[in-house]
């Protein structure tokens, strides 16, 4: 069997960022090929290059076949799809308002004759083909494990998360692909569901389908793939059998971040990190000294998006002065919990109290005023405002302008990057710099409790270290912190206590140290 898909020196950069940097790989037809790597490593960009959503800037992408190989680079997505490359999307992209059946029927588009006439004159004579199509559609639903008569007529948007993922696979299969690309098909699924996905993938492969699988979940990837390539910062850092790859030290570093040697870990270009600015201390002194009491109390929280229950009976608490970490896979519900605490989402059940206010009814801005501040996932700095303006807005809830300005100056001398870039649009900062900006912005609101969502997301290891140093510092200065991380081990290093979240539930809890030693956690994040 020859190679079905060949990538040679494929390159793509956005602005300064090398998203995919000279990647070459070969996918043998009939195999399951795994593509892994930390967030922001360029996996999805690579998929978009192959499927034609983003034109490659150089290199070639060839789809092998009986009639010789065909170049895919610089073809329209729909053409590539018709050539037999089907995909699913990391962020579900179903036709939410169409029924499951219609989703699959649309999927058949490329393999379907125009039937306008039959539809206009629905004579029995013409009906055989549509009926055949329906039969095929329900067969596909069956195949991915959705009972047609039960789910077929339901609107896709109303299906459960797992079922939606399955439906997306069915839709992709409808095009009768030669290569199926699955972009994180198991994201946010519980072990049982994940096992189903694994079986499905195996099944499809057994039926002779070649599969390119992208996922975070080591267990899954290691379990099913014949061959695995690892991306990091757009470059391929390893390529081989599951065993080889999981042994590769570089891979481990990429996943766990360097064990930060406490000494000399600095924010790039940072001045003496010890300048913990006078007046911030002044303003915090009290906080630091206070005897620790219950600050946040969450019990039996339940949050749902429509039919999908994203968070179920979650209970935990935070004492003043603690760092608490929530760890867990993508889509496990961590961010949902934070957004509920910030008042952006409203729980379906349960309670959440912060100091003396009820978070389930207070409006987001008042929550911030009371000192519960979130630094959201993906930074969400205001790209078109300057760094300085971002900081100014951080202090929106405060009226003591002079103090604010002093603090801003202090922060910009503490994080010289912010100082130097103060008049640049925040959008032009690098990921790490943006993260620091986001945190600094959060601090300016004088938080009593700071929620940090994925602060290390898609950052280079040394940036990760820098960010965690900052977190440690502000904690030492007396801010209580709730930290949400995928980078479990780093999170556990700094956390006093941690909770492991999976599919909306709290699975384990304990001190950082305990959990780090816990084999279950190791397994969950390292596979093997």
């Amino acid at each position: 069997m020859g190679a079905l898909l060949q990538l040679a020196e494929v390159r793509r950069h956005f602005g300064g960022v090398q998203a995919v940097d000279g990647v070459s790989l070969e996918i043998e037809s009939g195999t399951i090929f795994g593509l892994i790597g930390p967030n922001g490593a360029g996996k999805t960009t690579l998929v978009n290059l192959v499927t034609g959503y983003i034109p490659a800037q150089s290199g070639s992408i060839r789809l092998g076949g009986d009639g010789g190989a065909a170049e895919l680079a610089r073809r329209r997505p729909d053409v590539i799809a018709r050539m037999g490359v089907a995909r699913t999307f990391q962020t579900l992209r179903l036709y939410r308002n169409l029924t499951a059946f219609d989703n699959v029927l649309v999927g058949m588009h490329a393999r379907r004759k125009h039937d306008t006439l039959q539809q206009i004159a629905p004579l029995p004579a013409f009906q055989h083909e549509p009926r055949a199509r329906l039969a095929k559609a329900s067969a596909l639903l069956e195949r991915v494990g959705l009972k047609p008569d039960e789910y077929g007529m339901r609107r896709a948007g109303t299906l459960s998360y797992g079922d939606q993922r399955r439906l997306e696979v069915a839709r992709a299969l409808a095009i009768e692909p030669r290569l199926l690309i699955l972009d994180e098909p198991a994201a946010g699924m519980n072990p049982v569901e994940k096992d189903k996905v694994r079986d499905l993938i195996r099944q499809l492969n057994a039926d002779g389908l070649t599969i390119l699988l992208i996922d975070h979940d080591m267990r899954l990837v290691m379990g099913v793939c014949n061959r695995i390539a690892v991306l990091n910062f757009g470059r391929k850092i390893a390529d081989g059998s599951p065993a080889e790859v999981s042994a590769d030290p570089e891979v481990i570093t990429a996943y766990l971040g360097r064990q930060a040697e406490k000494s000399g870990a600095h924010v790039p270009g940072a001045g003496a990190t010890t300048i913990a600015t006078a007046d911030r201390h002044g303003s915090r002194a009290g906080a630091a000294a206070k005897p620790s009491g219950r600050m946040l109390e969450v019990s039996n929280l339940e949050v749902a998006y429509g039919a999908i229950r994203a968070v179920r009976e979650v209970s935990f608490g935070i004492d003043e002065g603690e760092i608490i970490a929530l760890i867990g896979a993508n889509g496990a519900g961590k961010t949902t919990i934070l957004n509920t605490l910030s008042g952006i989402l409203r729980p379906r059940a349960g309670s959440a109290r912060f100091l003396d206010i009820d978070l389930t009814v207070t409006s987001p801005d008042r929550i911030v005023r009371h000192g519960l501040v979130q630094v959201p996932e993906g930074r969400e700095v205001l790209a078109r405002l300057t760094v300085r303006e971002n900081l100014e807005l951080g202090a929106w809830v405060r009226r003591d302008r002079q103090a604010v300005h002093r603090e801003i100056d202090a922060l910009s001398s503490r994080f010289p990057i912010l100082g130097r870039r103060r008049d640049l649009p925040a959008g032009q900062l690098s990921g790490g710099e943006q993260q620091i900006l986001a945190i600094a912005r959060g601090l300016l609101a004088k938080p009593k409790l700071l929620l940090l969502d994925e602060p290390s997301l898609g950052l280079a290891p040394q940036m990760v270290d820098a960010v965690f140093d900052v977190i440690r510092q502000i904690h030492e200065e007396g801010t209580t912190i709730l930290l949400v991380e995928q980078n479990a081990l780093r999170a556990l290093e700094v956390a006093d206590r941690a909770y492991v979240v999976e599919t909306g539930r709290i699975l384990l809890s304990g001190t950082g140290a305990e959990l780090r030693r816990d084999p279950a956690v190791q397994k969950a994040y390292l596979g093997g």
Binding site: S342, I344, S363, P364, D365, I367, V368, R369, V373, Q374, P376, E380, V381, L382, A383, R384, L385, E389, E392, L393, G394, W396, V397, R441, A445
Partner: protein, 304 residues
């Protein structure tokens, strides 16, 4: 030609003043407020009635009218926009609900004649009137063969001043930053403790106040006040203006206003009058085709 260029500048400043409010709402709320032209009209109508019917001095009347228009902005927000936003209705439904409001506003004025329900607001039905002569001084100067009209100069100055002020507020004040923050990313803004709904409300207030002011200046300088000045004279031109300048961009609206004024007058002088009316829309069409984000292009996001 000099005269015509002056004309262009004057028209431009009216367009600009109208469009600034129009574009402000679009920039911050992502909706096209089609009731803006009706508020523009009411700005003129209310001022007129305060002067002509209730006998207030012009300046007082103007201030009151502008304030009332601001309140109408709040009405628009609470009646036509917020309920839809609450349930994530697509911006297009906001289009319809604001059209509904515009219909109502125009109809009320159009039907107001002596002895009717709204005779305190307006008494000339569908007719068009002007401010009673003497209500405002309107000197006219003839210098080197060009005519300079006091009222129009007034408009020019007012609008430039206003736009400078607005520009300053938006660029250099905390509120202005909050405004831009909300415009760019409501979620992030909320997490910073910004009360997005309040920002929206104040945006509507300011935008409508500006619209009203533009309206009364229009009525003053062009001696034309009628239920239709908003709908017929400026609404679509305003649209062209904000597209030329880049939808949602304040400086864009200003430049776009003067640009359109210029385009129209040039078209009028070069290719004759009958083309003039169409040219605005040809320009709009081309701009969208060639450079959808307009001159001062903000980002284009999908809005439907």
């Amino acid at each position: 030609m000099t005269q015509q260029l002056l004309n262009a500048i004057f028209i431009g400043s009216i367009y600009a003043l109208f469009a600034v409010g129009y574009t402000l709402v679009f920039g911050v709320l992502d909706v096209l407020n089609l009731a803006h032209s009706a508020v523009f009209m009411l700005g003129a109508v209310i001022t007129y009635s305060l002067v002509a019917i209730h006998g207030l001095p012009f300046i007082v009347a103007a201030v009151v009218a502008v304030f009332i228009c601001g309140l109408l902005g709040l009405l628009i927000e609470f009646v036509a926009l917020r309920p839809l936003r609450r349930r994530n209705a697509p911006p297009i439904s906001a289009l319809i609900s604001t059209i509904g409001l515009a219909l109502i506003f125009v109809a009320i004025v159009e039907q107001a004649t002596p002895g009717t329900l709204f005779s305190w607001l307006w008494q000339d039905g569908a007719n068009s009137v002007r401010f009673p002569s003497g209500a405002v001084p309107d000197p006219t100067y003839h210098i080197a063969g060009v005519t300079l009209e006091g009222t129009k100069l007034g408009i020019l100055v007012t609008s430039i001043l206003l736009m400078l002020v607005l520009g300053y507020v938006i660029r250099y004040t905390q509120v202005g930053r909050a405004l831009r923050a909300v415009a760019e990313n409501r979620r992030a803004a909320t997490l910073l403790g910004i009360d997005v709904d309040r920002i929206f409300a104040s945006t509507l207030f300011v935008s409508s106040a500006l619209g009203g002011l533009a309206g009364l200046l229009f009525g003053l300088a062009l001696s034309d006040i009628s239920p239709y000045i908003g709908r017929d004279q400026v609404e679509l031109k305003g649209l062209a203006v904000i597209v030329l300048g880049g939808m949602g961009s304040i400086p864009g609206a200003v430049v776009g206003g003067y640009l359109l004024g210029l385009i129209e007058v040039v078209a009028f002088v070069r290719f004759g009058s009958n083309v003039e009316a169409g040219v605005a829309f040809a320009a709009l069409f081309l701009m969208l085709v060639v450079r959808p984000q307009g001159l001062f292009g903000a980002r284009l996001k999908e809005r439907l």
